[in-house]
């Protein structure tokens, strides 16, 4: 452990934002299976969480997770509330413009979850149907643009919730016809309910997740990229992915 200590002091000098050997990771902790609380209501778990811990470990740092509303993660980064955001953040052009986005750390697409008997097989079938999305996610943006471009979709049919969990509640109790959501999340929620619900569509465009950092923090980015490559190489990523996404999930990002 003396080894670890020397590592820590080194990284302190390397990256200005990191203090006292703690890597601060921002996330909104209500997004299973990537970051969420265990049933006891206190233990933070999920893919991003374990990945974050593994990364910190490799860097010889302690991981600290900071809860932040998803739609203000960018702002919080800019004011140094945490060093990096690992929160199922899709790599978009807008984000690349305002922040540093890392290479993809896992693959993802947006998808449509429906009850089996709904007969919805693509966004084309959504006309006049109620779609639930989480406010501010890429799914929200996708649906909003669809409604803007195509008058057959009504904006009023898009129901925007604060939490993705609410979206799934809605298709379970029948108040919504479909949920548009990241596929990794969709898989998790369908889980046991494979008989009633199905992923009826997924986007062609991949929408991988990346780490988001404040502009100018390239030093940390470089370290993170390197560590993720190592974690891919030693199988850690795969182990965590299997734990949270199931045995047959294909999430490996092209790196």
């Amino acid at each position: 452990s003396s080894d670890k200590n020397s590592d820590t002091s080194k990284s302190d000098s390397d990256i200005s934002t990191i203090k006292n050997g703690v890597l601060k990771i921002g996330m909104e902790h209500s997004y299973p299976p990537l970051e969420y609380l265990d049933e006891d209501g206190t233990t933070l778990i999920g893919f991003d969480v374990e990945l974050g811990k593994a990364i910190a470990d490799k860097l010889g740092l302690e991981a600290e997770f900071i809860n932040n509303a998803f739609d203000t993660i960018g702002e919080a980064l800019n004011r140094d509330e945490f060093d990096v955001a690992i929160s199922a953040i899709s790599i978009t052009d807008a984000r690349k413009e305002s922040h540093i986005m890392s290479k993809a750390y896992i693959e993802n697409k947006i998808s449509l979850v429906t009850a089996k008997d709904k007969g919805i097989n693509s966004p084309d079938d959504l006309k006049g149907k109620k779609v639930a999305v989480q406010r501010g996610t890429t799914a929200d943006i996708y649906m909003t643009e669809l409604a803007e471009k195509n008058s057959e979709y009504k904006d009023s049919d898009i129901a925007r919730y604060d939490s993705v969990m609410n979206c799934f509640e809605e298709i379970k109790n029948g108040r919504a016809d479909a949920v548009m959501v990241d596929i990794v999340v969709a898989n998790y929620y369908i889980g046991e309910d494979k008989d009633s619900f199905t992923i009826s569509w997924q986007s062609e465009e991949p929408e991988p997740f990346g780490f988001q950092l404040k502009k100018g923090n390239e030093a940390l980015l470089e370290k993170l990229e390197k560590v993720v490559d190592e974690l891919y190489a030693d199988g850690t990523v795969e182990t965590i992915a299997k734990k949270y996404f199931g045995e047959d999930a294909e999430i490996a990002a092209e790196r």
């Binding site: 129901a159 925007r160 604060d162 379970k172």
Partner: protein, 225 residues
């Protein structure tokens, strides 16, 4: 501050374009408020009389209802009605109706206390005079006490109305679109908080106009004072 004004003038067209969108969602805000305060008012009369009743069980029940709805956050009440009830086999399909239900129950509790206070603020001598003229308690209530309370009810009921107008902001959490939810959507879409400016203005307009009407009504009802 100057940055702020600059931002406004640069984005003036954008802001103007948002206004009709915001106003449309204001319709929901007002409709929800109107429906729930009206329904709450009807229920509250029974709650108030029930709480003042000499029948212990009735009085206790009404007190408990009032205590519960005044003692817990409206947001949670909304959640229980919308997300909780389905687990008990009751699924309310319409978001509007679910919100209406939660808000009506909530405001009925507040209004019941308002009505009770107004009735109790009427000089005891009025009831005694009515009694000494042979009126029964219900008759005295109907002819003497309640008509006199009405004027005193206007200000607090108006306040409750304004409260609910503002509290409708919470229904965005069940994805019912009204003024606040729409504002948030626009903020996210435009990645700028400028939309708050017209949104806050609309809220101020509603509360301002309503306060004005209230004052008028109050004067109207006080002819005999």
């Amino acid at each position: 501050m100057s940055e702020f004004w600059q931002a406004i003038s640069v984005n003036f067209d954008k802001i103007v374009n948002w206004i009709p969108v915001l106003l449309k969602s204001t319709g929901t805000t007002l409709l929800l408020t109107l429906c729930s305060v009206s329904a709450g008012l009807v229920v509250s009369v029974f709650l108030a009389l029930g709480k003042m009743s000499k029948l212990k069980i009735l009085s206790k029940l009404c007190s408990a209802y009032i205590f519960f709805f005044r003692g817990t956050p409206l947001l949670m009440q909304l959640f229980v009605v919308y997300y909780g009830l389905p687990y008990m086999g009751i699924t309310i399909d319409s978001k509007f109706f679910a919100a209406f239900l939660a808000y009506a129950m909530n405001s009925s509790a507040y209004l019941a206390e308002i009505i009770r206070a107004a009735i109790q603020s009427i000089d005891k001598g009025q009831l005694e005079a009515a009694k000494s003229l042979g009126m029964s308690y219900p008759m005295a209530m109907r002819l003497i006490i309640i008509p006199q309370s009405i004027r005193r009810l206007i200000p607090p009921i108006g306040n409750e109305f304004i409260m609910i107008v503002k509290d409708t902001a919470l229904v965005s959490s069940i994805a019912l679109v009204e003024l606040s939810g729409k504002t948030k959507d626009i903020m996210i879409a435009s990645s700028s908080p400028l939309v708050f400016v017209p949104a806050l203005a609309i809220y101020l307009l509603i509360t301002g106009v309503f306060t004005f009407i209230l004052n008028r009504l109050e004067k109207r009802f006080s002819v005999y004072e």
